[in-house]
């Protein structure tokens, strides 16, 4: 589904990603973990060209989306993204947050887009917040709305960039629950997170990154029980 070939990214002289090649299949729940500064977020942000790769290719839907000639907006419709800081549209109500892109990009009618939005809001248990502005929501609510916003586009894959890192501890649960539900329904997900329990439970594949490389790519049980590399052992001993 997503094929990454020799992906490199540098910020000036700082090499953040070094030659990453990986294939992500439909239905996989790929959890990317690693120490801070290892390039996890940058890797994720390169997948939908939120960050332009310095070199390498990313194939999605048969096209190399790193080519500036490819219409990236078309591909991003099918590749949802959930951010650490939610990035809800602050000037719009929750309902408008969910209907803006379906109407503007997918050219859905107002009624159609709103029906879908209300359905999604019910699903995340926030239908009473339809007319509220993001500033009046709690962090957990914001993140659930952000997930609903990407679901409103009916994406084929959703990228999660540390979705619970900016939340109060008591709100982490509600967001993880929603993500678990999505996983059960078969959504393809790529998740950068520090929630090891979640990674173990939901992930079908763990990518352990260090210094811009993927140094372990294994199933969660094996990875958590017997990491191959010293770096991963060291990391797990600190976070578990």
């Amino acid at each position: 589904m997503i094929e990454v070939v020799n992906l490199c990214k540098s910020f000036g002289k700082n090499e953040v990603l070094r030659n990453i090649s990986i294939n992500i299949e439909k239905g996989e729940k790929v959890v990317v973990i690693g120490p801070s500064g290892s390039g996890k977020s940058t890797f994720l942000r390169c997948l939908n060209c939120m960050e332009d790769p310095t070199s390498g290719e990313i194939y999605f839907g048969g096209a190399d989306i790193t080519d500036p000639r490819v219409d990236i907006n078309l591909h991003r419709q099918k590749m949802g993204m959930v951010f650490q800081h939610f990035n809800l549209f602050n000037n719009m109500t929750v309902l408008k947050n969910l209907t803006l892109a379906p109407r503007k990009v997918l050219k859905k009618s107002k009624a159609e887009a709103e029906a879908r939005a209300v359905e999604l809001l019910k699903r995340i248990g926030l239908e009473d917040k339809a007319n509220a502005y993001p500033s009046s929501l709690s962090g957990g609510q914001k993140q659930r709305v952000a997930i609903a916003r990407s679901l409103a586009m009916d994406p084929e894959v959703i990228l999660f960039d540390e979705p619970t890192s900016a939340l109060d501890p008591e709100m982490v649960g509600e967001v993880l629950e929603l993500m678990k539900d999505l996983a059960k329904e078969g959504m393809t997900m790529v998740i950068v997170t520090h929630e090891m329990g979640f990674a173990r439970e939901v992930g079908t594949r763990i990518l352990f990154m260090d210094e811009g490389r993927i140094i372990e790519d294994r199933n969660p049980r094996e990875f958590f029980e017997s990491p191959n590399t010293d770096r991963a052992k060291d990391f797990l001993s600190k976070v578990l």
Binding site: N48, M50, D52, D64, T66, D67, P68, R69, N73, L74, H75, R76, Q77, G80, M81, F83, H85, F86, N87, L88, F89, N90, N91, M92, L100, A101, K104, V105, N131, A132, Y133, S135, S136, A146, R149, S150, A152, M153
Partner: protein
């Protein structure tokens, strides 16, 4: 000062009995028309310049396609934004670098004749010049406003497949405008007062009508004093309107 009463009386005779107030109202109207339309033009120009200035200038060569296609795409994504940016820098430099009176005079006596448009009326000229002038200032205010919006807002819009320009117009600019509203109000107030120089190109504004009252009665003290009071009242009214607008915008932010 013992003849202040007499001066007031003469002024009132001219102002009311001889119906100079009609001219003054006309002048007031012209002042407000020039300021308002100039301001609207300024916002349009300023927003366009600000967008050009914050536009990403990526030197991104496409990986595929024929040489012509690649060169074309390079020109579109890099050369044109760079050129526009240079033009905007020049524009802002010129309009911030010369006094508004000079701009009025140059436009009226140099630019228009060169274009063969001498017959354009002076109110229109004033609107254009004040619009272009305030556009230069508003562009910087607007640019600051756009930069003050969290970059995550742009990313949020792009992540659901919206284009750069759609996200800019729907998400970023509305928030930028809210942030800069007090400064924009300030700019409008400055504009209202600056229009008092439009008589340099023959437009009849508030100042010119009071000057003509002074010239008729041979007394300038009372007319000019009255004029000052009118300006203050206008500015106070605008100030209140801006406050109300700000409060309205903030309310929509917090409600529920």
């Amino acid at each position: 000062m013992q003849d202040f009463d007499i001066q007031v009386e003469r002024f009132l005779v001219q102002f009311i009995d001889k119906q100079a107030y009609k001219e003054v109202l006309q002048g007031l109207q012209n002042t407000m028309i020039i300021a308002l339309y100039g301001f609207i033009l300024g916002i349009v120009i300023g927003t366009l310049i600000a967008i050009v200035r914050v536009l990403p200038k990526n030197n991104m060569m496409p990986k595929s396609g024929t040489k012509i296609v690649r060169i074309f795409s390079y020109i579109r994504s890099y050369v044109i934004p760079k050129l526009l940016d240079g033009f905007c820098t020049l524009y802002v430099g010129i309009f911030r670098g010369t006094p508004i009176v000079v701009q009025l005079l140059v436009f009226y006596y140099v630019v228009l004749p060169l274009m063969g448009l001498e017959r354009i009326d002076s109110i229109t000229v004033a609107i254009i010049v004040f619009g272009m002038n305030s556009g230069a200032y508003i562009s910087e205010i607007m640019r600051g406003g756009i930069l003050s919006v969290d970059p995550g807002q742009m990313e949020g819009g792009r992540s659901v497949g919206m284009s750069y320009s759609a996200t800019m117009m729907k998400i970023v600019i509305p928030q930028a405008v809210k942030n800069i509203l007090p400064t924009l109000g300030n700019e409008f107030i400055a504009l209202v007062k600056e229009t008092s120089v439009v008589s340099f190109v023959g437009a009849m504004d508030l100042y010119k009508t009071f000057r003509s009252i002074g010239a008729t009665t041979y007394q300038y003290m009372v007319p000019y004093l009255t004029m000052a009071v009118i300006y203050i009242v206008i500015v106070m009214i605008i100030t209140v309107l801006i406050k109300l607008m700000e409060r309205g915008l903030r309310k929509s932010d917090r409600s529920r």
